[in-house]
Symmetry: C2
Subunit: 340 residues, 2 copies
DNA sequence: CTGAAAGCGCTTACAG
DNA sequence: CTGAAAGCGCTTACAG
């Protein structure tokens, strides 16, 4: 019933457990060729699979990387995880995944469990307000790091550890600049929850850039970070601006801080008889793959999400230093902000 | 440097390690209230975090569930993983994730590693041809199961273990029936690779249902299981059928076995000046959330993906039996197959 | 209720 | 090059 043990292999090969361990699990001290062969043969015949738990206990390293995301079904996070996975694979590490549904209790719990599992590193993806990292979590991280654990965050403030920072602020500023250059002058924003730093950074980057050009938004509304959040925000925006088909003023250019919110907004406006980009223009952020064939095609900003995920685990595995990196966004102008 | 140990806690509380273990890590034998309090206090003050590796070794159960998917960035799989995550959380298990990029070597490797980590169960999501599960993998699974490991597959054939089977075949048949009922008579199929069972089942379910109505497809083409696969297949299909705007025969109704392929197809046709649904109709499969606001809205089939993922881990955790379950699809008729 | 001790399956100085 | 032995941090019969 019990799995084949190193002891079993050693017995069959007629060597000591130590020797079997050395040939099977890569030590610098390589035993004689004949011995090594006997051990390997025995292992194969018995179907020996090393017990990673026991190895971890003996080695004080588990080869595990804990990954915490808000929602694995969100394309933003699943792309990050894809990149993280790939990087973990080349480093021969395993990924422990937690999808928290944005529940901070669950998040804290997941981190605790990762620490209990003695993950070599923990990567926290997702975003929250400055200083929002609660005391408990921070205390746990401190101890974790004191015991040799590595922490890397993606897109959130943290006093310690590594970080890879998507440039939400400056990419949004570039988007604003590009839209102004394209001839837009009247702007509005559909922002996200004030508690989410990504949402705030994107909004600020956009508004600040406009300000530098002597422009400002005519109205701002906010909603949940979802399709429906964009939908209802867009209705409020339409009401506030008294938008209707064929206004003489020309289309206002709306920045929805997320592609999915932009999609919800377009749906809302369509129901109101408003056409994009003729009656209202809209830009999003994220460049979600399944949205690339949307009609009208959506002006947006692409972030190198997979690369961000990969870099995060690379930083986590690089025990040298607590590096901080930035990941630039790329503005993509498409039909949804095309001026007639 | 080293983490706080159960021994440390016991010392500080003035009890034996055994007692500390019993109060901290839930045993039925509950020590006296005073003692328990002392231990808990000591643990808190020291910041004790149980070493899951050591517990696993001593208990012969890791609380780990291995999850293998083809591509975590694919909405199909990320939805499954989301459901699996949620179910794992209620069962207080941790998820080990592997995204294989459809590379069978990587897949085999991931399974081996999961076994090495002594995962309590392994869930394999993704699809392959009948009997394609290679010998090595199968042999490993056999040993794994003999040692008490549980295996559950999603949407693929496996002689042993549990399974949850998305009803690709019958849901596709229902789709065909619905389209015929809506008045369609001329059909075509954009299928996937013959090596992917999901693709084959969907195609067969559709074609067989047509057959039962005395109908058959006018042409079938295949492509990769991607947006670009759908795009190029759609071009071939258009050429084969000599599709052009405003054909007198009316629109042919094309079943693309995946939403993303359908999206690629629509893009290809748009470039050719063909309009959906006026010149050509199209239905997909999957009901991808970010595509729900697509124009034209896409007729498709929804699978309860999260539920499928959740059921898979529930089955994996239910050591009673190797259950097999079916998950029905739901046909959703939308604009892309609307007849004028 | 509580503790001493063996055992889970490995790795790794330490001797030979 | 090879082996005996201690140790990694827990759990759990087995005694008391």
């Amino acid at each position: 019933m019990a799995a084949v043990t190193l002891q079993d292999v050693a017995l069959r090969a007629g060597v000591s457990q130590a020797t079997a361990s050395r040939v099977l699990n890569g030590s610098s001290r390589v035993p004689g060729a004949g011995v090594a062969d006997r051990v390997r043969t025995a292992a194969r015949e018995l179907g020996y699979v090393p017990n990673a738990q026991a190895q971890a206990l003996a080695r004080a390293s588990t080869g595990l990387i804990g990954l915490v995301v808000h929602d694995i079904a969100d394309p933003y996070f699943s792309s990050i995880v894809r990149g993280a996975q790939a990087a973990a694979r080349v480093a021969r590490k395993q990924v422990l995944l937690a999808s928290t549904d944005r529940d901070f209790d669950v998040e804290r719990d997941s981190v605790s469990t990762f620490i209990a599992h003695r993950a070599d590193a923990i990567v926290l993806a997702g975003s929250r307000q400055s200083g929002d990292l609660d005391r408990d979590l921070e205390a746990e991280f401190d101890r974790y790091r004191a015991n040799g654990g590595r922490v890397v965050v993606i897109g959130q403030p943290l006093a310690f550890g590594g970080a890879v920072e998507p440039e939400n602020y400056s990419a949004s500023a570039e988007l604003a600049d590009a839209l102004v250059a394209a001839g837009h002058r009247r702007f509005a924003v559909i922002g996200g929850p004030g508690s989410i730093r990504t949402a705030v950074d994107r909004r600020n980057g956009f508004v600040d850039a406009l300000c530098r050009k002597g422009l400002s938004t005519v109205v701002e509304v906010t909603g949940e970070f979802t399709r429906d959040g964009g939908y209802s925000a867009a209705r409020r925006l339409a009401a506030a601006l008294q938008l209707e088909p064929g206004l003489a003023a020309g289309p206002v250019c709306v920045y929805a801080v997320t592609d999915v919110m932009a999609i919800g907004a377009i749906a809302a406006w369509r129901e109101l008889g408003l056409r994009v980009p003729d009656d209202v223009c809209v830009a999003g952020f994220d460049d979600i793959p399944t949205l690339r064939d949307h009609t009208p095609s959506l002006t947006t900003v692409a972030l190198p999400l997979e690369q961000i995920g990969a870099r995060a685990v690379e930083l986590a595995l690089d025990s040298a230093a607590d590096l901080r990196e930035r990941a630039a966004g790329r503005v993509i102008l498409r039909d949804s902000t095309r001026l007639g």
